[in-house]
Amino acid sequence: MTDILTLLPNIYTTTPQLRSLLDRHSPAFDACSITTVDLVTLDPRTICQRARISLNDVNRIVECVRDALNSETLGPAVVAARSATNSSGGKGRGRGKKGPVVGGTSGRNMAALGRAQEFLGVGDAGVDALLSGGVMTGSVTEIVGESGVGKTQMLLRLCFAVQQPPHNRSAIYICTESQISTKRMAGMLAQLQRLEVPGYQNLSLDRIQTAMCQYLDTLEHIVRYQLPVAIDRFNVGLVIVDSIAANFRVDDDDENDADSTATPKPKGKNKGKNRANKLARRAGDIVRLGTCLKEMAVRKNIAIVVANQVSDVFEPYRRYNNNNTLFTDRSHGPSSTPGIPSSSMPPPSSSLDPTTASQYATNPADDDLLLTYDYQARWFTGWGDIDNNTAEALAAAAGKLKTPALGMAWTNLLDARIALVKGTFGRAAQSHSAGVDSSAAAAAGEQEWEEYTRRWMKVVFAPWAGSGVPLEYEIWEGGVRSLKDEGRG
C-alpha cells in the first residue's frame, strides 16, 4: 500500500476519511504485499482474508481508492455524481479546469487535449516542418547523435523556444555530463535578440533553471521529488536532460573487457547469465527513471527532451549492408573484424555480442532474423535504415551504424526519437573506412578532418510527425537551421 501516495499524491486531501483507515491498516497490507492495484482487482474477501482486516474496512478502502483513482482519470465531477456520499471535492464540471497539477490528465474531451498540446519549434521553417511543428508537450522526446552533431545546440534553442509566445513558459536544464555551457547559451541569446525573433524581449537566461546530476541516484531523486515542485513554481514547459545515458554508461565499464576480448565462441552460460542479470538490473533503473519522466510529462503537460549518445555497431549490421546492393565496400572497409574492441566505450546495447556474428554470417537471409532486435532496430534507432532513394552521401553517413545507448527498454519508453546523423566528406576512400572502424569519439576528436561535415536530422519515430525523411541542416550560433537541397556538391 505504500505506493498509493505515489499514485495518488493528494488522496488525503480529496478523501480525508481514508486517512484513518489507511493509517490503521497499512502495515497489514504491506505485510502481505498488497498494493493499490490489488485493491481494485482482487476480490475484497480475498484481501480481507490475506490482510486479516475486517471486510467492512476493506470495502470502504476499496471504494475510496477506486473513486479517487477514477476522479483523477474521469474528473471529479463524474465520480461525485456517481457516488453522492463521496465528498471528493469538485462541485462543478471540472472539465475546463486546467490547473497545473491535474492539467494533463483530467481533460476528458479530445478537443480539450488538442488545445492543451503545444509544439516547441526551433524557429527554423525547414526543421519545424520536419518535426510537424516541433516537440510536443506531454511527451518524451529523445535527440540522439554523436558528439558534435548539434544535440546541445538544438536543446539550447528549445530552451529559448519555450520562452517565446505562445508558450511563455520557462525551462529546466539538467546536465549529467558536463556543466551547461552558459557561454553558448548567452551567445545564442544575443543572436536571437539581434534577430528579433518573436518575443525576444522576454528571452532571458533567468528563465532557464539548471541542475547538475552526476550520479544516477541524484538524477532519480531530482526527477522524482524536486522536479515536480520546480515545474509548478517556475511555470516550466520544458525539461531537458542532457545525456540520459551518461549515468548508465559508467556502470557498464567493467563489461568492456569481457566483451571485446571474447572469442567468437560463447564461453558458457555463466558469463551470459551475469551479463543478462546486469542488463536486467540496468533496464530496471532505466524503466523507473523513464516512467517517472513520462508520467511527469503527461501530468504536467510539459515537453521532456533528453539527449542520448550513440555507440558503434560492428558486425551484425555490417553484414546486412553487404547484403544491400546499395552498399559497396567503399563505406565499409574490409578491415573490420568481429571482435575488434571499441576504443572508448562499450556498446551498451545488449544486442552487440560479437559471438553471435559469426554464427549468422554464413546465412545472410533476412527472414531468419526478422524478429530479432538486431534486424528491426535499424528502423527505430535511426541508423542503418537506408532508403533506396537517399543521397549517397547520407547513406554513407547513416550507414556508419551507430545505435543509441540504453537499448530497447528505453526505446519503448520514448514517444519520439530524433536522430542527428553526421558524416565527413571530401577525404579519400581509405580514410573513410578508417573512420568506420574507430569509434565515434575517435573520429570526432582525435583526427582533425580538414574537410566539411554534413549533418542530417531525421525523425525516427514520432506520433505526431512523419518519420524517415532526412533533412540536411547546419549549426549556427542561434541554433540549427535547414539547408536547401543540393546545397553542396
Partner: protein, 465 residues
C-alpha cells in the same frame, strides 16, 4: 456499516437475451464494423474490418504504425457517427493527427466524439475499466475503445529485475503469512489475465470493439545469440492471447532496390498472428501468403499494390535461394528447424552422414539434390561441429518452436496445439505433406522454414528488458 453496493462490480453479469434477438441486432447493424483503409487488413479481421464486440491486439516496435492503424479505426468510427473512447497510458495521443485524418473525411465536430482518458498506472486502468462496465449513461456508450500501449502500464508496475529485490524484501518482513505473499511474477500473470478477461467482458457485454496496442520487448536467449523480440505483454498460459479475436504483428523488412512505387519508409509488413479467433501459431516469415504489406502515409493506411509486391518477394526469394541453394525447396512446416544453432543431438543417427552433427544442415541437404548446396554445406561442416558443443547447451529458447521428434518418421505430434490451432488454410495445405523429408513441389515459392513467429511464449522464463 453496510458494504457499499458496488463492491461486486467485478462480477458483472452479462444481461440475458434471446439468441434470436441477438441475431436480429447483429443483422440489423450494417455499420457494425470499422475499416482501416487497407483491404488486406480488413480481410484479416473478417472481411469488413474490425467488428463490434471483437478484441484486436496490435504489436510492433516503435514507429511501426500501431497508432496509425488505431487512428484509422477511430476516424472511421467517428465518420460513421459512433462514439470512441481513447485510453492513453503514459503518453499523449497526438490530437493534431486525429483531426487531420478526420478533416480529410470531412467530419465536423470530430474530436468531441472521442472521449479520452489518461491513465497513469495499472490501478487507474482497472478502476477505469470497472467504471466503463458500470456506467449506464450515454457518455460511456462508445463502440470503439482504444488502449494505447498497455504494456507501458505493466512496465511501470513491474520494472525489469524487480523480482529479486521484492522477494528478499518479502522474506525479511517476517514470515507470518509468507504463503500469502504473491510473487511479482505471479502477480503480473494474474493481472494480465485479469485485464484480458475484463476487456473481453467489456467488449462482449457492451458490443464494443477494443483495440489494444502492445509494444515489443527484447528477450535474451539463454547462452547468447541475437535478442529476440516478443510482445511485451503475454502470458504463459495464453490467457492474454486467447482473449483477442485478432492479433497482428507489424514489422519492417529490408526490401532490395526495386521498382517499388512506394517509398520504402512507408511499407509495413503485417503478420497475422491470430485471425477471427484462430491462432496462426507458426507464421512463416518468408512465405508471402503469411503476411501482406501495407503503406502508412500521412494520409492514413492503405494497401500496397499486391502484384508489385509479389514480384518483389519473388525476387527476394530467388536471390536468397541463389545465395543459399541448400535451403531451396525444403518446404515442411511440421519439421521446423529453427536455426543452425538450435539443433538436437538426438537426430544425428537419423542422418546418413553422421559425421556432421548438425542435423539442420543435413536435412536441408537431403531435401536438395543440388551439389552446389552440398559443397557449401561441407564447407560449413567444420564450423557446425565447432558450434555444436556450445549450441547444444541452449536450454530451449522460448520463442522458437523446437520439435526434434518431428524429424523422425513417427507420426506422433509433439505439440498438438500447433497443428490444431493452425488456420484452416494452413492445415489444408499441410495435411497433404505427410513425411518431413518429402521434397517440396517446385511450384512453391522458395522459403526457409525454420524461423517462425511463436508469439505466445512462456513468460516465466523471460528476461524482458
Amino acid at each position: 456499516m453496510e458494504p457499499p453496493p458496488s463492491t461486486d462490480y467485478n462480477r458483472h453479469r452479462l444481461p440475458t437475451r434471446s439468441a434470436a434477438a441477438a441475431l436480429a441486432t447483429q443483422l440489423g447493424h450494417d455499420q457494425g464494423s470499422f475499416a482501416t483503409g487497407s483491404e488486406a487488413l480488413d480481410n484479416a479481421w473478417g472481411g469488413h474490418g474490425l467488428e463490434k464486440g471483437k478484441l484486436l491486439e496490435i504489436c510492433g516496435p516503435p514507429g511501426s504504425g500501431k497508432t496509425a492503424i488505431a487512428l484509422q479505426l477511430v476516424s472511421d468510427a467517428v465518420a460513421k457517427g459512433e462514439k470512441v473512447c481513447w485510453i492513453d497510458t503514459l503518453s499523449q495521443c497526438p490530437v493534431q493527427r486525429i483531426e487531420k485524418l478526420l478533416s480529410e473525411q470531412s467530419v465536423e465536430d470530430s474530436a468531441s466524439a472521442i472521449t479520452r482518458y489518461q491513465v497513469t498506472s495499472l490501478a487507474h486502468f482497472f478502476a477505469l475499466i470497472a467504471h466503463l462496465m458500470d456506467e449506464d449513461d450515454a457518455s460511456a456508450a462508445a463502440s470503439l475503445v482504444v488502449v494505447e500501449n498497455i504494456s507501458l502500464l505493466f512496465t511501470k508496475e513491474f520494472p525489469p529485475s524487480s523480482d529479486a529485490a521484492n522477494a528478499t524484501q518479502a522474506v525479511s518482513s517476517n514470515g507470518v503469512n509468507r504463503e500469502q505473499i504473491e510473487k511479482p511474477a505471479d502477480k503480473r500473470g494474474r493481472l494480465i489475465a485479469d485485464i484480458a478477461s475484463r476487456l473481453q467482458r467489456l467488449s462482449a457485454s457492451r458490443m464494443v470493439a477494443i483495440v489494444v496496442l502492445n509494444q515489443l520487448a527484447t528477450k535474451a536467449v539463454t547462452g547468447g545469440g541475437p535478442l529476440e523480440l516478443v510482445p511485451s505483454i503475454n502470458s504463459a498460459n495464453n490467457a492474454w492471447s486467447h482473449a483477442f479475436h485478432h492479433r497482428i504483428l507489424l514489422l519492417r523488412k529490408q526490401v532490395l532496390r526495386t521498382e517499388l512505387p512506394a517509398a520504402h519508409r512507408h511499407l509495413r509488413f503485417v503478420f497475422v498472428l491470430k485471425s477471427s479467433g484462430t491462432d496462426i501459431q507458426n507464421t512463416n516469415l518468408s512465405r508471402s501468403d503469411h503476411f501482406f504489406v501495407i503503406k502508412l502515409t500521412e494520409a492514413g493506411v492503405e494497401d500496397e499494390k499486391q502484384q508489385a509486391f509479389n514480384a518483389v518477394t519473388g525476387a527476394i526469394s530467388m536471390a536468397e535461394a541463389l545465395v543459399n541453394p541448400e535451403e531451396n525447396g525444403y518446404n515442411d512446416d511440421e519439421a521446423e528447424e529453427e536455426d543452425d544453432g538450435f539443433s538436437d543431438p538426438g537426430d544425428v543417427e537419423e542422418a546418413p552422414e553422421s559425421s556432421l552433427p548438425n542435423d539442420g544442415h543435413l536435412k536441408r541437404k537431403r531435401s536438395n539434390s543440388s551439389s552446389n548446396g552440398a559443397a557449401s554445406e561441407a564447407g560449413l561442416g567444420g564450423e557446425g561441429s565447432a558450434d555444436f558443443e556450445t549450441t547444444a547447451s541452449y536450454c530451449s529458447p522460448v520463442d522458437l518452436v523446437h520439435i526434434p521428434e518431428a524429424t523422425t518418421e513417427s507420426v506422433a505430434e509433439p505439440f498438438p496445439i500447433v497443428s490444431q490451432a493452425r488456420g484452416p488454410h494452413l492445415s489444408q495445405a499441410e495435411a497433404s505433406v505427410p513425411v518431413p523429408e518429402e521434397p517440396a513441389s517446385a511450384t512453391e515459392i522458395p522459403q526457409k522454414p525454420w524461423r517462425t513467429i511463436v508469439p505466445d511464449s512462456d513468460e516465466s522464463e523471460d528476461d524482458v528488458f
